[in-house]
């Protein structure tokens, strides 16, 4: 049923998106088979040899003309790139160990038979979180393409021709009507349900709901399978979170096509927690669907 265009909205924080008591809630990670993972670095990044957290440029209020307010919603008007400035991404090659094996290379077959690439991440023994548009295509403009995808072939921790696990083929998917009916990017998240408990071997990331103030202090980490790199290779980058919205998280972490569905995650000690699902490349920043209380509750139900 179409929504009444006179439905009132408010700039006040939307009720029910964050815990009422302001305290974070989270589901715990599991490390799967094998030893304990290395703790994160002091800057909140993965301990990847040779990788350093890029310096955030100092904001200079006198550096140039003030941006049109429309850029806040739609990005810069011309030729944005999803890799912003120097390409900080580093390749991960030890993908068969935790935490890297949690990230999954996805080959997607859409309803019209077209083939696509994406990324997902285990949140439980048989559940992989990803973007809604990875599992359900909306308003493509191509006859026969829209709707649930036919199947997704999943390779956890793949590194080019090196296959650590799988592939496992899934035809069981989850999303929400905010995406499947309305195509609203604020609800662009979903899940792949595997027919096996492969996640018990690979392990999984936790996920949680944190306040705006907390997220703005966090280093966001993304690992995924970008299509501009050698086929099915895993690449990593990190940066402080740029900004947050009620249902979105924005960051200047370099990504490319093929990384939709990646985990945007924080590291607390030895533990990794998803804070958003990467979905869009933008002009100045890229963005993901924030894990709010409703997203958290759906992920918790889908991992059961």
């Amino acid at each position: 049923m179409p929504q009444d265009p006179h439905t009132p909205v408010s700039s006040d924080p939307a009720a029910g998106l964050l815990p009422a008591d302001g305290q974070p809630v989270s589901q715990p990670p599991g490390t799967g088979a094998g030893g304990e993972p290395a703790p994160g670095s002091s800057t909140g990044t993965e301990p990847v040899e040779g990788y350093e957290l890029p310096e955030a440029p100092e904001a200079d209020p006198f550096a140039g003309p003030v941006a049109d307010i429309g850029e806040a919603s739609f990005g810069r008007p011309s030729d944005p790139e999803t890799v912003h400035g120097p390409d900080d991404r580093v390749q991960i090659t030890n993908t068969c160990v935790y935490p890297w094996r949690v990230h999954c290379f996805l080959e997607i077959t859409a309803a019209d038979g077209s083939a696509w690439l994406g990324t997902g991440w285990f949140i439980g023994p048989h559940t992989i979180a990803t973007a809604g548009h990875v599992v359900h295509i909306k308003n493509s403009g191509v006859p026969g393409r829209d709707g649930w995808v036919r199947s997704i072939k999943v390779w956890p921790g793949r590194n080019g021709s090196t296959v650590c696990y799988g592939p496992v083929v899934s035809t069981s998917f989850r999303s929400v009507t905010g995406w499947t009916a309305n195509g609203d990017e604020n609800y662009d998240y979903g899940a792949i349900i595997l027919p096996t408990d492969l996640g018990a071997q690979t392990g999984w990331f936790g996920f949680g709901v944190w306040s705006d103030a907390d997220l703005l202090q966090v280093t966001g980490n993304i690992a995924g399978y970008p299509a501009d790199k050698p086929y099915a290779t895993l690449w990593y980058d990190a940066r402080r979170i740029d900004s947050v919205g009620p249902r979105k998280v924005y960051y200047d972490i370099d990504t490319f096509g093929g990384q939709s569905g990646s985990s945007v995650y924080r590291i607390i000690g030895n533990d990794r927690y998803g804070i958003a699902v990467h979905a869009y490349g933008g002009a100045r920043v890229n963005s993901g669907t924030r894990i709010t209380t409703p997203v958290y509750n759906n992920f918790a139900a889908w991992k059961a």
Binding site: F74, G75, P77, S78, D79, P80, E81, T82, V83, E107, I108, A110, G113, S114, A115, W116, L117, G118, A131, G132, H133, V134, H136, I137, K138, N139, S140, G141, V142, D146, N182, G183, D184, E185, D188, P226, A227, D228, Y231, T255, F256, G257, G258, Q259, S260, H278, A279, Y280, G281, G282, A283, N286, S287
Partner: protein, 96 residues
């Protein structure tokens, strides 16, 4: 791959190698566009063809990669007011 409203256009093309033969399984994605875009990549079919959704009017940068070769093209999608169907725009790519 998906857009939040009826798209302005569909960018269709074929990826060919340096000799002009169509390339199956090439990866094709947007490297830039007028609005934030879903971060997926298409694989070309057996005849080297792809079709990417352009959600809004503007200039798009389409890149492809197969093996170690890459190619890119800039294409313009113009919004047809109240168009009954999305505009079809060609973007053929030749790998170097």
């Amino acid at each position: 791959m998906s857009t939040p409203s009826a798209p302005a256009g569909v960018i269709r093309g074929t990826v060919r190698d340096a000799a002009g033969a169509p390339v199956a399984g090439a990866r094709v994605a947007f490297a830039g566009g007028p609005v934030p875009l879903p971060d997926v990549a298409a694989l070309t079919d057996g005849e080297g063809r792809f079709a990417l959704t352009a959600p809004a009017a503007g200039t798009y940068t389409v890149v492809c990669r197969a093996g170690g070769a890459t190619a890119a093209a800039r294409v313009e999608v113009t919004a047809a007011p109240a168009a009954a169907r999305p505009e079809d725009v060609r973007a053929d790519l030749r790998l170097g």
